[in-house]
Point group: C2
Chain length 132, copies 2
DNA sequence: TTGAGTGCAAACTATTTGCAACTGG
DNA sequence: CCAGTTGCAAATAGTTTGCACTCAA
């Protein structure tokens, strides 16, 4: 996903500030929120540029990205709770046979003041075909 | 997410067939793939209708949905591997303080022929504010 | 001076929706 | 018959990209 085919980076006030914002908050802001926050300082800032810089920062490994968008929803006829393996080579998604750990929800509840209803666990790597 | 505000459902050949397809495969097809597969049987079928029916089936609890799309990407200045809690009430995302279980990757590798690079674990529920 | 960065607008992709016609119970 | 379902096309929403201009090294 985050290849290192980008060769050289220069400094830019915008990118520096985006990184600063992300390093100084425990929020997990969206691109739009970052954009809004920066508009006061850079009135001409464009949202496209925020996206560009976020991608560069991810590429550089300086931030990480929690993807909830940009790809496909997948549908599953099996409604029992189970975990998935996602191949980063071919994109295939496989059900995993390891047991569902309901106890994890409890563990989180013990450490927080949240009510936990369910969790989602996905493993990423290469499937048999893509390993060869 | 999947409220039960939908009152009554009728049968439809299209929806029945979509469910059949999902129940009979271990793939995790996208809406488009299901659409393509059904086009031979229902040449006039529209993609919009596939989406509508998939949402209804999710609403009915007959299938489940692995969301990779449809919402926002979130960015995180903390690149150490850690888990997240996502509030289903207000959408806020919090870092969790429970330890990162690298051992899970090994466990999956022992049970499969896959190479596992990393995993992602998210808990869903209500945060303190939304509980009141 | 030169190629990385920028703003802008248009393009793209996945998904949703309004509408008039249709159909199953 | 009537509310749920459909196809179609247009609309949305988040993200990416082409282009001409700018700026940092």
């Amino acid at each position: 996903m985050a290849q290192n085919n980008h060769k050289k980076y220069r400094n830019s006030k915008q990118r520096t500030k985006i990184l600063e914002i992300l390093k100084s908050t425990k929020d997990h802001p969206t691109a739009v929120r970052i954009y809004e926050q920066l508009r006061t300082e850079f009135p001409a800032l464009s949202l496209g540029n925020v996206y560009r810089n976020l991608n560069i920062l991810v590429e550089q490994g300086q931030i990480s990205e929690l993807r909830f968008g940009s790809t496909f929803d997948r549908y599953d006829g099996d409604i029992r709770p189970h975990y998935h393996f996602i191949c980063e080579g071919c994109g295939s998604i496989e059900d995993l046979d390891i047991e569902h750990e309901d106890v994890l929800n409890k563990k989180v509840e013990e450490n927080t003041n949240y009510k936990v209803n369910h969790h989602r666990l996905e493993f990423y790597g290469q499937c048999e075909n893509c390993l060869q």
